[in-house]
Structure formats: C-alpha cells, structure tokens
C-alpha cells in the first residue's frame, strides 16, 4: 500500500499519468534506476556540500595571529559583523547595483530581441540566427572581455570614430569605470537570457495570438496579456541564469573596471589569497550567497504582488473560479 502511494506520488511529481508507475509488479524496476543517481549524489556531496559546509563552519571562527588562516575554538558571529562593516558593505552595495542594473538592461535588450527571433524572424533562418546568438557564448569568457577592453580603449578605433563623428569631444573615457563593467557584464550574460526567452516565446503558438487579435485585442494588449504571461517561466529562468553568476563574477570587473570595479567576489578572493583571513572570507562568501537568494526571493515577491491586480482582473473578466 505504502509503495503504491509512493509510486503515485512519484508519478504526480513527474506529471505523468499514474497508471504506468502504480501498476503492480513493476516496483522491481525502481531499485536499479534510483541507484543510477547515486554516483552524482556521492560526487556532489563529496565535492560540493562538504567543502561548502566547511566554509560555513569557518565563517563562525576567527583568524589566529599573523600566520594562521582560521581557527574555530571560539565560535562567534563577529566575522559577519566585520563582513558587513562600512568598508566591505560598500562593495556589497556596488555588487548589488551592478547585478540588478545589469540584469534589468539585459532584460530590456533581450525581450524584444528574443520575441523577434522566436516569432518574427524568417522561419528557415531561425536555427542559424539562434546559433549565432550562441557563438559568443562558446568563446572564452575572458577573451570576450578583453575584446571589450580593446574596443573601449581611449586611443582605440571606436573612440576615434566617435571623435570623428563629433559625438564625443575627447578620447573615450569609459575604461576602468562602472559603465565599462556594466557593458562587460551585459555582454557576457546576454546569451543566457536570450536562450530561455526564445524557447518560452517559441511555445506561444500563432493560433493563441491570432485568437487574441480576433477578439479585438491590439498588439500591445496581446503581448501583455497573452504572450508575456505564457513566457513567464522562461523569463524567470533567464533572470536567474543571468543574475546569479553575475553577482559572483569578478573577472569582468577585474578586466574592465580596474580598482573601481570592486565586486564582492573579488573581496572574498582577496581574503583567501592575499589577507589569508579564511574566517572573514568565508563569512563574506556566506553573505554573498544569502544576498543572492534574498534579493532573488524579493524580486519574485515584488513580481508576484505587482502582477496581482492584473491576475485578479483577468479572473474576474473570465469568471474563472480557482
């Protein structure tokens, strides 16, 4: 009985009809296949969960003297207080600013672009166009960023073109500013937003949009009430795919931002590599993860509350009770 209930529960999780899994006499099949996941379990526990657990443990300790890196005989939350002290807090703020602004710009660029790619671009070219979006994605991250360093250089070609056209008076003074970092991260993470959005828009079939049009909805209305809500899962995946690595990235900031592009990742790295204060570095790492999770949850909540009036109205109009 229990096993049957379990099987039904499992089937429900996969959103498949329960008949196949709950059929009696099939349970023997389950054992060897569940074991298939065991190596991945073991691997991730040994090389992800255990080391990250150790870092969390370090974060409650302290740095003993000049030559020690960490000690845990006295436990406290002092490292967290230190990690959030004004000097370091400013870096967390800067990281958050770059992370949020970068994600928003990427969103603004990729929503119309992915929409065009999935629904408006000529059908037979779509595969090629999509592959073209992925080419930067397959080029080394660091090299792409160095490419921007060349473009944005004050004595570079782009700077000269801008001066010749009279758009800027002097040489381009973007390198080693926050703007340069922003350009770099927008560039580096853009494909990660375009791909899930493309897939999401691709699922919105023409017939649904035509139906909306037939019922008298304008272009914007169709986009806002039909296409966008249906693309929501892709939108969420894209935002997470972009926002999370962006918050931890400090390579882009190192190449394009110089000293001014200080990111939290750099700060963590410094504590481990230069300052040799593993306890403080660990606390910073934990704060970084919590910041990412916290802001992602907050954004989710805001999006949910923000669309609530729209959803409430739609339920009212259609008279659907849930």
């Amino acid at each position: 009985m229990t096993t049957q209930l379990e099987a039904i529960g499992a089937a429900a999780l996969q959103s498949e009809p329960p008949s196949a899994a709950s059929a009696p006499g099939r349970d023997w099949k389950r054992l060897p296949r569940a074991i298939l996941a065991f190596p991945a379990w073991a691997w991730l526990i040994a090389f992800f969960l255990a080391p990250v657990g150790m870092v969390i443990w370090f974060s409650f300790g302290y740095k003993p003297g000049m030559f020690g890196t960490h000690a845990n005989d006295v436990l406290s939350l002092d490292r967290y207080a230190e990690a959030l002290s004004p000097t370091f807090f400013a870096t967390f703020q800067n990281t958050l600013w770059v992370g949020v602004t970068g994600t928003l710009i990427i969103l603004a660029i990729s929503v119309p672009f992915a929409y065009w790619l999935a629904l408006k671009a000529p059908m037979r070219h779509r595969g090629i166009l999509l592959a073209m979006v992925m080419i930067p994605f397959w080029t080394n991250f660091l090299i792409r960023t160095i490419g921007w360093q060349i473009i944005l250089a004050p004595e570079g070609f782009f700077s000269q073109v801008l001066q010749t056209l009279g758009i800027t008076d002097g040489p381009l003074e973007i390198m080693f500013t926050r703007t340069a970092v922003l350009i770099g991260v927008v560039y580096n993470y853009l494909p990660l937003m375009v791909l899930p959005l493309f897939v999401a828009f691709d699922r919105v079939t023409l017939s649904l949009r035509e139906a909306s049009k037939d019922l008298g909805a304008g272009r914007w209305s169709t986009f806002l009430h039909i296409t966008l809500p249906l693309a929501k899962p892709g939108l969420i995946v894209g935002v997470l795919l972009v926002y999370i690595p962006l918050m931890g990235d400090y390579i882009t900031a190192t190449v394009l931002g110089g000293a001014k592009g200080n990111m939290a990742g750099q700060m963590v790295a410094n504590q481990f590599q230069t300052a040799q204060n593993w306890a403080l570095g660990s606390a910073m790492a934990v704060v970084l993860i919590l910041t990412i999770l916290g802001t992602a949850a907050l954004a989710g909540l805001i999006a949910w509350l923000g669309t609530w009036p729209m959803r409430a109205r739609r339920r009212l109009v259609l008279g659907v009770e849930k």
């Binding site: 990250v52 370090f58 595969g127 592959a131 160095i146 921007w148 060349i150 999370i244 190449v255």
Partner: protein, 270 residues
Amino acid sequence: MRAWAVLVFLFLFAPILVILIYSFNEGRLLVSWDHFGFGSFAAIVTKPAIRDAVVVSLQTGIISAVLATVLGTMAGVALARRAGRWVPWFLGLLVLVTVTPEIVDAVALLPWLVFLGQDLGLGIFDNGIARLVVGHSLFSTAVVTYIVRSRLIGLDESLEEAAADLYAPPLRRFTQITLPLVMPAVLAGGLLAFTLSLDNTIVAAFIQVSGSTPWPVYVLSAVRTGLRPEIAAVSTIMLVLTLGAIALVAVVLRRSGDSATDIAKTMGGA
C-alpha cells in the same frame, strides 16, 4: 524590431571580431595596433607555456565533460523515470549547486582539496588535472542532469515498457532503448560541459597546481602583467576549432532527425 535585432547581433559580435582582427597584430602589446602580420601565430609555437596551458585546458575539458556527462545522464534518467522520495532532496542539491556563485565553490574547494590531499594522504588530489576536473565537474553535472531529465520527461515511456514486456534485462533496456532516446541531450550536455570547463576561470585560478595552469588562468595572469597578441591568436584558433566541433555535433543531431531550432534549443540547454 528587425533593426534592434541587427544592433544586438552587432553588439554580440563586436568583441569577437576585434579579437579576430587583433590576433594579426604585429605590435608588442595586444591592445595597441601596430601592423598586420602572422607573427603572433608563429610565436605560439615557440612559447611552451602557452601550448602547455591549452593542453591542460583541453585535457581537463575532455575528462570533466565525460565525467559530468556520465554522472548527469545517469542522474537525469533516474530523475525522469524512477522518481521517489529522494527526488526533492536531489533537486534541492542540484539547485544549490546551480545558485552557488563560482567564487564560493572556489574558496570552498581549495582548503577541502588540500585537506584530502595532505591530511588524508589521497595523492590524487595533489594532481593538477584531477583537481581541475573536480572543480569543473560540479556545475556541469547539474546542467547535464537538467538537460537529460527534461528531454526524457518529454518522451513517452512506452518504448521502454515494451522492451521490459519483451523480457529485455534492465541493463540492455538502458543501453538499447533509453540511451539512444536521450542521446541528443547527452551530446548537447557533454558539449556544454566541455565549453563550461574551457571557460572556467575563477575555480581554476584557486585550485590549480603550478605546473598545470589552464588556459584561462594563464590569460588572467597575462591581463595583470601585460597582454600580448599571441593570446588573441590562440583564441582565434580555439574559436575556429570550437565552431568546427559545434558544426559536427549539429550535423550528427540533424542526422538523428532534429530540426535546426530543436538543435539550437538542445544546445542551449532548454
């Protein structure tokens, strides 16, 4: 809208084109253009450090891609076909792996690998390649698992059931039915794992052992000391090779009957 798309494509290709052009720079520094020439390509041959770094990267990439693909495929099949009470826990672990920034993995793995290698005396964790493989395989394992799982969930289980009804033993059923079905996802996942490994800079910079420095870490140290055109030349060669590999996989997938859009989608991990 079309104009916007053109602009986005220009934006996407700008730095890559710049790197391609600047790999023919004969100047001493990459960033300042001198004159056209093939000197940087010739210089690669004479600089063993560059060649070694690329070789380390390729070795690590292949081994960690194979590892992540094997682990991820098995886990993905298990998730899609034989779910149980372990599923939420496992998915939770995967989500945790995916949302943890690379820098946290990096600082966590460094003391952990030292602990395993020095304190527990497990010599393999002192080996440079082995360390890099461990570091690069974590995120990729999660990614391959997602891709394989989503592919298999979209496929009907009836073929596998038919095989079972015809008394195919579990192993044979797996190799002859399930594996061919998920093959596009496995290939795409493997390719993604390989490129993720080639790209990995942060974790690699932390856990590398001197003597086996991977390519991105070499470039990163060059960013600090002065970039030479050779770096662009190597990138150009690697870009051409990567594009070749992708084209090959795309051809294989097309043979197996996927449309161009499907291929791109599978490769994008969606």
